[in-house]
Symmetry: C2
Subunit: 134 residues, 2 copies
Amino acid sequence: MSNDENKGARLSRQRETILDELRKVKTHPTADEVYDMVRKILPRISLGTVYRNLDFLSGRGVVLRLGGAGTQKRFDGNPAAHPHLRCSVCGRVDDLEWPLALPELPVEQSMGYSRLRCDVEFVGVCPMCAGRDS
Amino acid sequence: MSNDENKGARLSRQRETILDELRKVKTHPTADEVYDMVRKILPRISLGTVYRNLDFLSGRGVVLRLGGAGTQKRFDGNPAAHPHLRCSVCGRVDDLEWPLALPELPVEQSMGYSRLRCDVEFVGVCPMCAGRDS
DNA sequence: TCCATTACTAGTAATAATTCTCAGCAACCA
DNA sequence: TGGTTGCTGAGAATTATTACTAGTAATGGA
């Protein structure tokens, strides 16, 4: 966080706390889950600030914004590309604990796209949701 | 489209048209792009009907609902799992024309998740958006 | 054939997630 | 020390999606 791109950017208490809290957990919280976490430390923070900073941080590649199949976006404190498991029922996301090599796309197959990164997501039903019904 | 699960389901003119139009294109339209396409044929169709039927069809696995990094969901007339290329600027989605084998997850690595399917998405900047700025 | 049931529709209201706006405060620089 | 810029909280606005409602059409027995 100290190259030219970030010239002028300040590490406010709010921004720092959001980043800290996000790095602390292994769940992949949604914006308002982050809001709840951070509010325990900075009770007067606003939801808009959380969104603004998650946007800022993911824009800089410091955290990962997971688009995914769900309706809300989720955020990951670990910015390295790694595969996820997503529950299609409750929307929860886990890291896959298995060193799956991410597929590499040869430039001549990239159809003109640049700056590619690979998102791999396995979508299924998590143990909790599978137990609930069937 | 004729097994037990679909008992009672009817193939209305609206539903049929939505499916036809979706299968016709290689783009991966959003719900309101589908709405626009279908409206040329059935001008009185409502957006709610489009959403309802896209939901119905993707629930049955007849079409694919692509969650993805963008803000709107996109739909794919080809329900077979296959990798996509997504532009992080304009949100457009292309099929990857390269027979990339989708990674297979061994059951013992699935962390209790069941009925898994794999989504692979390469996210980058498409040629059009790359040309516009830099 | 007639009637009850069910699936579906258009239109519109409601909701949910996210982004935008704006006035004030705080850090930084000349 | 004063001006500029980045950031904030609060709340309004926007956007995508879902839910509701009343009406219509297909279906399946009596």
